[in-house]
């Protein structure tokens, strides 16, 4: 690859596309971008205040209710004129202190919110009280434990127990009254996590004091103990991931544009490699994504209340970590859009492909990040690293302190590898013979796989290269299913994982048969199945990286990855060796079954895929049952 030519193509890509925009469109786009850029941090800092002033409360200034009403933006204090009630107000505080609500749905809603507001106001007053013992004569410690875990019953009796699923019960024992925690991994009155917890699962940020964008620190009542709304993740997904969706539309379009009417043929015949062309065309969009992410990261880092007192170096460091975490997402967005642009036959089809990819990738980045601070499943998403970097809850204790390399590798490596494989897959068909043909997306996909086959051993290579996708798909399945009851999620997970893996091991073999690469005999199928199973087995061992963050501590994590690694299982060395190498036999057998189906035709292939999936799921169930 020649850097000078890559840069020249990148410059051409920018100037070519710049010519497509008139000045008015550019101006409108800039205004929209600036508006989004300006509003995002503000919204992040202040929250959305759509309900400001929706309730009118007639309350005298000397009433003790006046201050709570005045301090809550939902309420507007008005003159307590009984004649104007209920027409001009929803609530009225009578001279005797009683509060009456209008007999309307809005009046009842106002009363409900009024109660919450007064309670919160009282909490704040108590928190500000110098005599803590007087304000909070009863302390409740909270310990989070895994469901069915022995520690759940052993840890701190008399505490509020919250299971991993967030169920709570109050045992009612009083504390020592000095505000100290007695439970491991519990929270103090300010809601921050205490150190030295034994539990691998962190507690939610009670009352929001640990929240990224500020919030009330006055909580601490049992009613406040609840999984927080994933506002940070929502904002981060909006701020970091949403702009990517716009960029990939333009990127995928420019890739497809090269294929329309064979426009890109002249570039192919010029003295530049296809890698130069692809890199040059991708570079501006990647740079744009990084630039947007950098501005967003600096903006959010600077405006985060937690950043108060942190110097420019700390802010720069946090922003750099955020951008580094977002880069693999950007690359995967671009890589999948590139493949979409190479496979789609028309802009209409491309829109469908990019929207599908966009939804899938956004879900992958966003859904696990919802559970940041709540559950280790959040570690799947690089956005979690961003939240941790901004909160300082990663490896350090404040914004600007880096996340660990292990966390970074776990969250991003599958994305980097997937992006690399996708670019390679698309580059394989970036040639005259493939890029200008009008074939359906599935057939193009098979063409792309076939382009990577050079012999029977390629089956092993392609199976191994599918591991990042398998890993990503399985992590997503875990993330989507983990909130369901285990009795329901476990069988679905086992079948889903088996299906994903069987497809990964067989689809390229099917592509090879479909393109007459291999002889259609059972012997050939057996050899290819052997290679495919071996390649997959070796690649699968890479999923041991999951151990880095203890994901297999989850029951679903064990189901997804414990069957692969055999780690964390207490058994004799012989059994462990069996568990270690049994997958090799499984993968070889099931890959041979699907390869045998692929030698016939598509229907036979799908039929054997179902059989292989059931066999694989049965194996998984057996191993999971053994692990217990």
């Amino acid at each position: 690859m020649k850097l000078r030519k890559v840069l020249r193509i990148a410059r051409w890509e920018v100037s070519k596309n710049a010519g497509q925009l008139d000045r008015r469109t550019v101006a409108i786009g800039l205004v929209v971008l600036l508006a989004v850029g300006a509003l995002t941090p503000l919204v992040a800092q202040q929250g959305v205040t759509l309900d400001d002033g929706i309730y009118r409360v007639g309350v005298p200034e000397d009433s003790s209710y006046h201050d709570p009403v005045a301090q809550d933006a939902k309420f507007v204090a008005v003159e307590p004129d009984p004649a104007a009630f209920p027409g001009e107000m929803e609530l009225l505080v009578r001279p005797d202190g009683r509060v009456v609500a209008a007999e309307t749905p809005k009046g009842r809603a106002a009363l409900s919110d009024f109660r919450d507001t007064v309670t919160a106001y009282n909490d704040r007053l108590m928190t500000a009280e110098s005599d803590e013992a007087a304000a909070f004569p009863v302390y409740v410690s909270v310990a989070y434990a895994e469901q069915n875990s022995p520690t759940a019953s052993a840890a701190g009796s008399g505490a509020v127990r919250t299971t991993a699923e967030g169920k709570q019960r109050l045992d009612g024992e009083t504390g020592d009254g000095n505000g100290a925690d007695s439970g491991d991994g519990g929270t103090d009155s300010s809601g921050e996590e205490s150190e030295g917890g034994d539990e691998p699962i962190g507690a939610p940020s009670v009352g929001g004091s640990g929240s990224l964008f500020g919030g009330s620190a006055s909580g601490g009542t049992p009613a406040d103990v609840a999984p927080p709304f994933p506002f940070e993740s929502l904002v981060l997904a909006f701020a970091f991931v949403l702009p990517m969706n716009f960029v990939i539309q333009a990127y995928a379009s420019t890739i497809l544009d090269e294929r329309v009417n064979q426009r890109g043929e002249l570039l192919l015949v010029s003295p530049v490699s296809r890698e130069d062309i692809i890199a040059g065309k991708t570079l501006p969009y990647f740079a744009g994504m990084v630039a947007i992410a950098s501005v967003t990261a600096v903006g959010i880092t600077t405006l985060t209340p937690a950043a108060d007192g942190v110097g420019p170096l700390g802010i720069a460091s946090t922003a750099a970590i955020s951008v580094a975490a977002v880069i693999p997402i950007a690359l995967l967005f671009l890589a999948s859009s590139f493949v979409g642009g190479m496979f789609a036959r028309s802009f209409k089809e491309l829109t469908f492909v990019t929207v599908t990819l966009s939804v899938f990738l956004t879900a992958y980045a966003f859904v696990p990040a919802i559970f940041t601070n709540v559950h280790p499943v959040a570690a799947i998403s690089p956005l979690t690293l961003v939240v941790e970097a901004l909160q300082g809850t990663g490896a350090g204790a404040g914004p600007g302190v880096g996340v660990s390399l292990g966390d970074y590798a776990f969250s991003t490596l599958p994305l980097y590898l997937s992006a690399g494989v996708l670019f390679a897959l698309g580059a394989g068909v970036y040639r005259e013979e493939d890029m200008f043909t009008q074939r359906s997306v599935p057939l193009k996909f098979l063409d792309a796989l076939d382009g990577q086959i050079s012999g029977r051993r390629s089956a092993a290579k392609l199976s191994a290269l599918s591991i990042p996708f398998v890993f990503v798909a399985e992590l997503l399945v875990v993330a989507l299913l983990f909130a369901l009851p285990v009795s329901l999620s476990m069988p679905v997970l086992l079948v889903a994982i088996a299906f994903v893996e069987e497809i990964a091991k067989s689809v390229h073999v099917y592509a090879g048969f479909a393109h007459e690469r291999f002889e259609r005999t059972l012997r050939s199928a057996a050899v290819l199945g052997g290679f495919s199973g071996l390649g997959f087995f070796l690649g699968e061992k890479a999923t041991a990286v999951a151990q880095l963050v203890g994901l297999p501590d989850l029951e679903l994590g064990q189901a997804a990855f414990g069957t692969v690694t055999g780690l964390g299982i207490e058994a004799s060395p012989l059994v462990l060796a069996g568990l270690l190498f049994a997958p090799l036999a499984l993968h070889t057998i099931t890959a041979t079954v699907t390869a045998a189906g692929a030698t016939r035709n598509r229907n036979w292939y799908f039929g054997t895929l179902v059989v292989a999936t059931l066999v694989h799921a049965g194996y998984n169930l057996t191993v999971v049952s053994y692990i217990g």
Binding site: R8, W12, N17, G19, P271, S273, E433
Partner: protein, 295 residues
């Protein structure tokens, strides 16, 4: 300059080109003709390194057809050349000059010189706003931006009006005169006949005839004599009040004279008809089954 040795190309079991052999020396204009689907474009794309042969080999300017170094010596003009509509002609050509490592000042001079020769004005106009003929001229200018030794032009005048077509054919002839080696395909055989030193006639993926136009005419063409008589003779057709008998030898002409005399008439006129390349092509094509696009 160009050597083609037993080229073959298959697509999913379909053979597009089979057993293609020819060579083109320096400075020659070589034509490739044939009906649609004969394998002309596939052959040219294999020469340009765009399509990988299934078997056989081709070399251009001393390099293998797939060698990136070869591309520096090649100017390729595909049959359809949709350009980047939002660029101007000059910026488009400057971009390709950069890719070919042509120094800026040299490129600028060469681009304007070529556009002058092609009589292309409005050089700063968006390509999307240009006519088809102007766009084709830009595409031709692009093929010359690296001052290549070899030019491969696939249907350079396809879809253009007669005036522009003639202009481009003349321009191609001038390129050959200036020493470029040109491989040229066209549907209009008159153009091929008028500028090509040698031709290869392709049909069904195979070269069915090759050589100079005269040699092919000699090999495949038959000189015909149209003998016009005042009376009807065997094998004659009435035409404008007299009878025409078409024969292929002077003996047959003499026989026609005797037949007319025996019927009380005489031979009024004898015309010699030399077949054009198009006639020969049609005849060759008709000899092969399953020819698409036969007129």
């Amino acid at each position: 300059m160009i050597e083609v040795d037993d080229l073959r190309k298959e697509y999913d079991g379909f053979t597009a080109v089979e057993g293609s052999n020819f060579s083109v020396p320096d400075g020659e204009v070589f034509g490739v003709v044939g009906p649609n689907g004969a394998g002309k474009t596939t052959t040219l794309k294999m020469l340009a390194g765009l399509v990988e042969p299934t078997a056989g080999s081709a070399s251009v300017a001393g390099y293998d057809a797939g060698d990136p170094e070869m591309r520096k010596h090649l100017g390729f003009l595909p049959e359809e050349s949709p350009l980047y509509e939002d660029m101007t002609a000059v910026s488009y050509l400057e971009f390709f000059a950069d890719l070919y490592d042509v120094p800026r000042n040299v490129a600028r001079e060469r681009i304007h010189d070529t556009l002058d020769r092609l009589d292309l004005d409005h050089r700063e106009r968006r390509i999307g706003d240009m006519s088809k003929g102007m766009t084709r001229k830009v595409a031709i200018a692009r093929s010359l931006v690296n001052d290549p030794d070899v030019l491969i032009y696939d249907e350079p005048a396809s879809g253009l009006d007669p005036l522009t077509t003639n202009y481009i054919i003349e321009f191609t002839r001038d390129l050959a005169v200036s020493g470029k080696t040109v491989v040229f395909s066209a549907h209009n055989l008159f153009h091929v006949e008028s500028i090509c030193d040698r031709v290869a006639v392709m049909n069904d993926g195979r070269i069915v005839a090759r050589g100079s136009v005269d040699a092919i005419r000699e090999e495949h063409g038959r000189t015909e004599y149209h003998v016009y008589t005042s009376v009807e003779v065997a094998g004659a057709r009435k035409e404008n009040g007299r009878y025409r008998r078409t024969v292929e030898s002077m003996d047959a002409v003499e026989e026609t004279r005797e037949l007319a005399a025996r019927a009380g008439g005489e031979v009024e006129d004898i015309q010699t008809h030399t077949p054009s390349l198009e006639d020969i092509f049609l005849e060759i094509a008709q000899e092969s089954p399953d020819v698409e696009g036969r007129p």
